[in-house]
Symmetry: C2
Subunit: 342 residues, 2 copies
């Protein structure tokens, strides 16, 4: 297995991505292709003592797409951008999967243009796994790719998210819920009302009905289906809220007097363990589902550990034939719908 | 000042609501009208030793609207439901404000039908105040009343939420943000893209642009404007997430060995203080804005303290002429838009 790693355009610079890739090569049975400015990549590989590692290949790319650039325009104009060059390595099958922590928008566009969508998939969805109260993870999708999703997009998200949960997270018969403002079937906005009956008749998934915002962190379902606007807002809220809550707890302890401070020291190891369990970098990035090859999008602020974990997920993504299985199920669902329409 | 309190249809029964109202009469300079089954109300007043309190009036209502009933149908068919009878006390000006912790849907419908909308307000919005990192509160609206909001609804929410922040929360020139998937002006779904320019030209508010989910808990803005579907999902998520996170912390401490357990005991007072600061019942329920009289909707699981606080907010709502100020600003904005259209 050979993983393409886009090393450019991230918050902490190529060094974190390169370090994460070196660790991945040690940890997993794989090769990596580091895509970016050759001189910079070489310099860091030398510093990390990995320049002679045969499992690490360098692919030069002279351009970078920044976080603020208009994705479609940038991908079209910058033929030698690292994400474009990396995507082409997927198309030519020189690599089996791709990991990027640059602009999410640019990665999504490059994926569609350079690699292509799975036949029948109208729009790819971004799936994010978040830790839940059961000590497992809940897949939320779409988490930002498809705002103004049509009901068909939501159904395809449900199918793709279920394959992710089953084949990569190893959850047997993952339960799927539609994110809504109430549990009853008649609740919701136009989008949810139109999506509900379609999900009910999608045999490729185990649909259990509507779920509410409060059900996401409890692990009531394994896959939460929603519009990309809602998913993006909720996941970014979760990020900010967790941080705020932990800061508030820290402040309460620091300002709580001597005993509270001592207590704070005593619970430190337990809190560190919990923090690790909650740490997004443990979860190896988000999956761009619906593309003809495994595509992983990491947070722009990913550090080495997050990249190593993302490469691990990319390997699972490729080894477990997730793309082929999604393709089969999407075709199955499409065929049944055509039969129903006739 | 006289506050109508709907005592029926809540999770913990009339006793919690009645106890909260008794406390409010002691705490604030006001009268309350308890609306519900007379015999039941009398029984609890007697138990609490408040049957002779001249500031507590009973108004009999023989019917209840349950949480699962279809709101519009229930309000139309149950003329003697407590929420309907209470709303009529507002219309006749026998009461100055109303507090309910029954079905949110039924309360919203009763408000529109029995009390009526402020002239120019297309649809009332539910505003929820949540604690932020700055130790203040952020107003989120709409939090569940208007799913599939039109841009006009969002603009009116922004105006009404600003008045709430200024007149009840005492925030001078409250900053307003539009909840979106990115900060840049060109980001968003159709709804956000259409709403942004309208907010920009609304002189009644201090609009600072888009905010993301992560900005809600930090207090970056004082008023977050969003569609009712998104607001409902985010607020319910916050509720579930905070609970899950605290449970995870508790479990981490309990399972963290002897030192962690001792530490947990030492930080208990500091955590209790923080819990109080985060407790939704301290915030006195959500405000139904756009109705011709002050209308407060509490969580169905409200206990006595939440009701006492809600009555306090209802008094502020009435005393600070929030309804009149909203009415003026909505008319102002409407007039300017008409002039622009000509």
């Amino acid at each position: 297995m050979r993983i393409a790693v886009d090393v450019m355009g991230t918050d902490y610079g190529p060094q974190e991505i390169i370090l994460g890739a070196i660790e991945a090569v040690k940890k997993f049975d794989c090769e990596v292709v580091l895509v970016g400015a050759e001189a910079v990549v070489k310099e860091w590989l030398q510093k990390y003592g990995a320049l002679d590692n045969k499992k690490i290949i360098i692919k030069n790319a002279t351009q970078i797409i920044g976080m603020q650039e208009q994705p479609a325009l940038a991908v079209r104009n910058k033929k030698d951008a690292s994400i474009v060059v990396a995507s082409k390595l997927l198309r030519s099958k020189e690599c089996d999967a791709l990991v990027s922590s640059g602009s999410t928008g640019a990665a999504s566009v490059a994926a569609v243009i350079c690699v292509g969508r799975i036949k029948g998939v109208e729009r790819p969805a971004i799936a994010t796994a978040i830790p839940n109260l059961k000590g497992k993870t809940t897949v939320v999708l779409d988490s930002g790719s498809i705002v103004d999703a049509r009901p068909l997009n939501m159904v395809q998200s449900a199918i793709m998210g279920s394959v992710y949960a089953e084949k990569i997270l190893h959850i047997a018969k993952p339960k799927v819920g539609l994110l809504n403002v109430g549990e009853e079937e008649g609740k919701g906005n136009e989008q949810a009302l139109a999506t509900y009956p379609l999900l009910k008749h999608t045999k490729e998934i185990a649909f259990i009905g509507n779920v509410e915002g409060r059900d996401i962190p409890t692990g009531k379902v394994d896959v939460v289906v929603c519009d990309g606007f809602v998913g993006n807002v909720v996941l970014k809220f979760a990020e900010g809220f967790a941080k705020s809550l932990l800061t508030m707890i820290k402040n309460a302890i620091v300002n709580g007097g001597l005993f509270a401070k001592l207590g704070g020291l005593l619970i430190k190891p337990a809190m560190a363990k919990l923090k690790k369990q909650m740490d997004p970098s443990e979860y190896g990035g988000a999956l761009l589902l619906g593309i003809k090859a495994p595509f992983i999008i990491c947070h722009g602020s990913s550090k080495a550990k997050a990249i190593t974990n993302a490469i691990g997920v990319a390997l699972d993504f490729a080894r477990n034939n997730v793309v082929d299985i999604i393709s089969e199920k999407i075709t199955e669902a499409e065929k049944r719908n055509e039969e129903l329409e006739q």
